[in-house]
Symmetry: C2
Subunit: 193 residues, 2 copies
């Protein structure tokens, strides 16, 4: 049986497996099986498991940046409302996944840290990109007088991002949404004027 394989579809399937099983427990065989792919095609596309993971992070980041676009470019919301919409909607997505699927950047950081330099570099760049975009929205909210100005926009962006990482890790520990709701209450009380 001949199968035509779409690289994007393989990555999409691989992201799901990585989010469920983590990097080390995901074998190339798991991906071959899920995509009915030959080993030769896999190595032709990705060169190595590490190469695959970097492309999976790239696809995951692209989807997240598009999601940020969809919310942060709203013209009928104030900067603070955009951020509330963004995190409220992220909580909703976790609840729809039964609070069992973590963020790929978060879980790969916990597993890998800086031990695989190419992956670490990609993770840091992706975090930075989101942080820069959220900081830009915060800066607009500071200029409008909606968001406190005694912290830099960059610090408040990292406060939101890191707080959400912690809340979603704790969510995953018990498969319960309460840590996410606590994050929404405390984080927005902290940043708004």
């Amino acid at each position: 049986m001949r199968q035509k394989h779409d690289k994007a579809a393989i990555i999409c399937e691989g992201v799901k497996i990585l989010r469920m099983k983590g990097y080390h427990d995901t074998g190339v065989d798991d991906i071959l099986k899920a995509c009915q792919l030959s080993s030769g095609s896999f190595y032709n596309f990705f060169k190595s498991k590490e190469g695959f993971a970097i492309q999976a992070l790239e696809q995951y980041n692209q989807v997240y940046q598009d999601y940020l676009d969809g919310i942060l470019k709203h013209t009928d919301l104030s900067p603070l409302e955009k951020l509330q919409r963004l995190y409220g909607s992220s909580v909703q997505r976790h609840v729809e996944d039964s609070c069992q699927l973590g963020c790929l950047l978060n879980s790969m950081t916990s597993e890998i840290g800086t031990t695989i330099p190419a992956i670490s570099k990609k993770i840091q760049a992706d975090f930075q990109l989101s942080s820069d975009r959220i900081a830009k929205t915060i800066r607009a909210g500071q200029e409008l007088g909606e968001i406190r100005i005694d912290y830099t926009a960059e610090d408040l962006a990292d406060f939101l991002i890191n707080g959400f990482i912690g809340a979603s890790t704790r969510m995953k520990a018990g498969a319960k949404p309460e840590p996410l709701h606590l994050f929404l209450r405390t984080a927005f009380e902290f940043i708004k004027v």
Copy 2:
């Protein structure tokens, strides 16, 4: 060559390996090699890798509870000062580890979530124990008028714990301490009156 093996020492070595490599990438062989242990002795002590991980979490939790004791039972510090000492000292420990070693509970949650029920149950119980103890200190600070009372002590304890999980994950992404320092500034500003 006959070797007498001390179970506590094996667990101690195993915790180090788990913190560096994570659960799935730690093979029983890694532990056997690091401890010059036979496979028979390992399975005699721990029954399985899962059984070993639960005992490793137990040892890790015991060390953390002793550490909490050492700080929270200080008689010359106010409740708020105890919490500042606790987290200030945790940041210091991360810096001494070059910001590369995460918390075992955090990384095992990210990797395993609720997929291995016995480990998940242990992780949740350990988080809850720390949360209860920190909440007790927060309650004392609320009674003294040092800590805000418009959130329950339990919510503020989880706010601190989850915030520190997020900060230490982000620290690990770049092996840099800035996220920890941002946590200290924002979290204590939020909880104190």
